[in-house]
């Protein structure tokens, strides 16, 4: 009896320490009453029922998608944008594990977690968009090796699994499971190699999808090299997202970092700013090459041309110059603003390619329904809440010293 009681107390202590952050249930619930949580609750209160309604009543009842516009916000934003903004996982993973840039190690875990959550949310968005989501399994069993969609489906499945395995390193650290933690930590190098391989394949293959519709995509965005554009912009998105995410997380979770080894985020941001400047600069010229190669200069003076120039100059060239200036003068705030602009630019690009400039000659325009918007906002909110929940509990922004390396007591 006594031992059973002890065990119960032990479990309750585990639950209290690991889940409730050392608070009682009442204290924990009261701590959730914040303005941020209130806004999140309102979004979820609208978005989650909308998602349920979509599965109950179908796409026709819940979205403005049509035969002319089969791809809407859930593909353009949740899938295309979600996947590209999660590119920080492989970008930083490769920098640390493969290129030996160990200085960036402290921001590797948040980047991997952001990527993992981003991919899970993208997959949920994709399932919502599929007319018959249960048929997704056909992508596994059908040998569609000549299909870009087949490549995307396989790579996204495999890469999400790789991200899950990479995430288990801090997860097992949190649980204190040393043996399995040691095995997974040793396999990080191999997992990073796989993550680079899968990411290279599917980030570019998402662009390859548009090779099937050369006349549907506006000539300013269409190019036979669109898959290269997608891959390079994914690297830019990865770098920019890590800049933005590390700034926010080290500010929001500052109280969790007290007593932890100091991480000079500003120094890392300057390093990322240098990389961002060079990548964005190259990407800008590639975009111009795409226009020349597509003989599409004439369209620059049209409405779509203005849209293209805003995207390419305002959200690629300007951030590139701001990255460069900020890195040169050690102005971290400038680099962070440039990062936020570059992230916005990539979102804009993916929406332009997959929604706005797609079917550009179609007289009927697509405008997402409120339920589509609510579901997309809800997925972003769930992602942010999941990131916060995990960062508040698990060693994401630091490494548990007991696990950091062999710790001799």
């Amino acid at each position: 009896m006594a031992s059973a009681r002890t065990e119960t107390l032990g479990q309750s202590s585990f639950f209290r320490d690991k889940i409730l952050l050392g608070m009682s249930l009442g204290e924990y619930l009261r701590s959730l009453l914040t303005p941020f949580n209130l806004v999140a609750a309102v979004i979820l209160a609208i978005g989650v029922p909308s998602l349920v309604y979509r599965f109950a009543a179908g796409l026709g009842a819940s979205t403005n998608l049509s035969q002319a516009y089969p791809w809407g916000l859930w593909i353009g934003f949740d899938m295309m944008t979600g996947v590209v903004l999660a590119a920080g996982g492989f970008t930083i993973g490769a920098s640390v594990q493969l290129l030996g840039l160990k200085d960036f190690h402290p921001i590797e875990r948040p980047a991997i977690l952001t990527a993992f959550i981003g991919y899970v949310m993208a997959v949920v968005g994709l399932l919502a968009d599929l007319g018959r989501p249960w048929n997704i399994v056909m992508a596994i069993v059908n040998a569609g090796s000549a299909s870009a969609l087949f490549e995307i489906a396989w790579c996204v499945m495999c890469y999400t699994t790789v991200l899950l395995l990479e995430f288990t390193v801090p997860f097992f650290e949190w649980l204190g499971w040393k043996r399995i933690h040691a095995i997974l930590k040793k396999s990080l190098l191999a997992l990073t190699v796989l993550s680079v391989m899968f990411s290279t394949m599917h980030q570019s293959a998402l662009g390859s999808l548009f090779l099937l519709a050369p006349t549907k995509l506006h000539p300013l965005w269409y190019t036979p090299f669109i898959f290269i554009f997608f891959f390079i912009s994914a690297i830019l998105a990865g770098i920019s997202m890590v800049i933005v995410e590390s700034a926010l997380s080290h500010k929001v979770f500052a109280h969790r970092l007290e007593g932890q080894p100091h991480v000079d985020v500003d120094k890392l941001t300057i390093g990322l700013g240098k990389a961002g400047a060079i990548v964005a600069f190259a990407y800008f010229f590639l975009k111009l090459q795409g226009v020349v190669d597509g003989h599409a200069w004439g369209y620059l003076l049209t409405g779509y041309g203005a849209l293209f120039l805003v995207e390419t100059v305002g959200f690629v060239l300007v951030p590139s110059l701001l990255f460069a200036w900020g890195a040169r003068h050690a102005k971290v705030k400038v680099i962070r603003w440039a990062g936020a602009m570059a992230v916005a630019g990539i979102v804009f690009n993916r929406l332009n390619v997959s929604v706005i400039a797609f079917n550009w000659q179609n007289p009927v325009r697509y405008v997402p329904s409120w339920m589509e918007v609510a579901v997309s906002l809800s997925l972003v909110t769930i992602g942010v809440l999941a990131f916060r929940w995990i960062c508040n509990r698990m060693p994401i922004l630091w490494e548990d010293p007991a696990f950091a390396d062999r710790h001799e007591d």
């Binding site: 240098k274 020349v292 971290v332 950091a404 062999r406 710790h407 007591d409």
Partner: protein, 240 residues
């Protein structure tokens, strides 16, 4: 001619080549601009703002940084009070770059270390140079990864910590050391001294906007690197 046929095939190719050329020509200054040494680095600005009044106005090198939260011993070992009440000890960035240790001889757990007395040593595979403990206390944990040198120690304030000490009245003990502002000024002064000893063999250095390489002592003093390191670590009169 429609807008889509704005340029003929050959004209477009010419423009593509021209654009590629423009890109390459602009890429070189862009690269040089981005990779140049940051101007008005924040760390330098901080140190300048907190330099004692009347101090000689040396241009700040900004080579070695000290994060907030650590206290520095003049022998180039740092100490930090952790949340669990233990004091973590390591070497500062100056010591790390001076020696670029291949091995570190650490005290064993249970050993008693005394402030300003040799407690551990850093060096290559042949010679090690003793370093002074920044605090008094009993060693309760050592970082095995750091003992193997370069890898972990390249992050001297993070993964390169050396050992943890149980220090009676730790907060008071740390007040005897240099706080981050004073430590930055101290490292600037040490860097200034070092910059006068630099030789061309060191490669890009202060004069052309470079930053110190790892293993400065060996690059500057060759075989006599250990003596140079001892001088900086204040152990030139103690037993090796």
């Amino acid at each position: 001619m429609t807008t889509h046929d704005f340029l003929g095939l050959y004209d477009a190719k010419v423009m593509e080549y021209l654009l590629a050329l423009v890109y390459l020509l602009l890429f070189v200054p862009m690269w040089r601009f981005v990779q140049g040494r940051p101007q008005a680095a924040e760390a330098g600005a901080d140190a300048r703002a907190q330099a004692p009044a009347g101090a000689t106005a040396h241009p700040l090198l900004g080579w070695f940084h000290v994060p907030d939260g650590v206290a520095l011993h003049p022998g180039h070992a740092w100490a930090r009070l952790d949340a669990d009440g233990l004091v973590t000890v390591g070497i500062d960035e100056f010591a790390q770059k001076l020696v670029d240790p291949e091995q570190v001889r650490l005290p064993a757990t249970g050993d008693v270390v005394r402030q300003s007395r040799p407690a551990f040593a850093v060096g290559d595979q042949v010679v090690t140079v003793p370093m002074l403990s920044p605090v008094d206390g009993t060693v309760v944990a050592v970082n095995g990864a750091a003992a193997h040198g370069a890898g972990a120690l390249r992050d001297p304030y993070g993964a390169g910590w050396l050992f943890k000490v149980k220090v009676p009245e730790a907060a008071r003990a740390l007040k005897q050391l240099l706080d981050p502002a004073a430590a930055r000024a101290f490292l600037e002064s040490a860097a200034e001294g070092l910059s006068h000893q630099l030789q061309p063999a060191l490669g890009r250095v202060l004069q052309d906007g470079g930053v110190p390489i790892h293993g400065i002592a060996q690059a500057v003093a060759g075989e006599a690197w250990a003596a140079l390191a001892r001088k900086h670590f204040l152990t030139d009169r103690s037993e090796p």
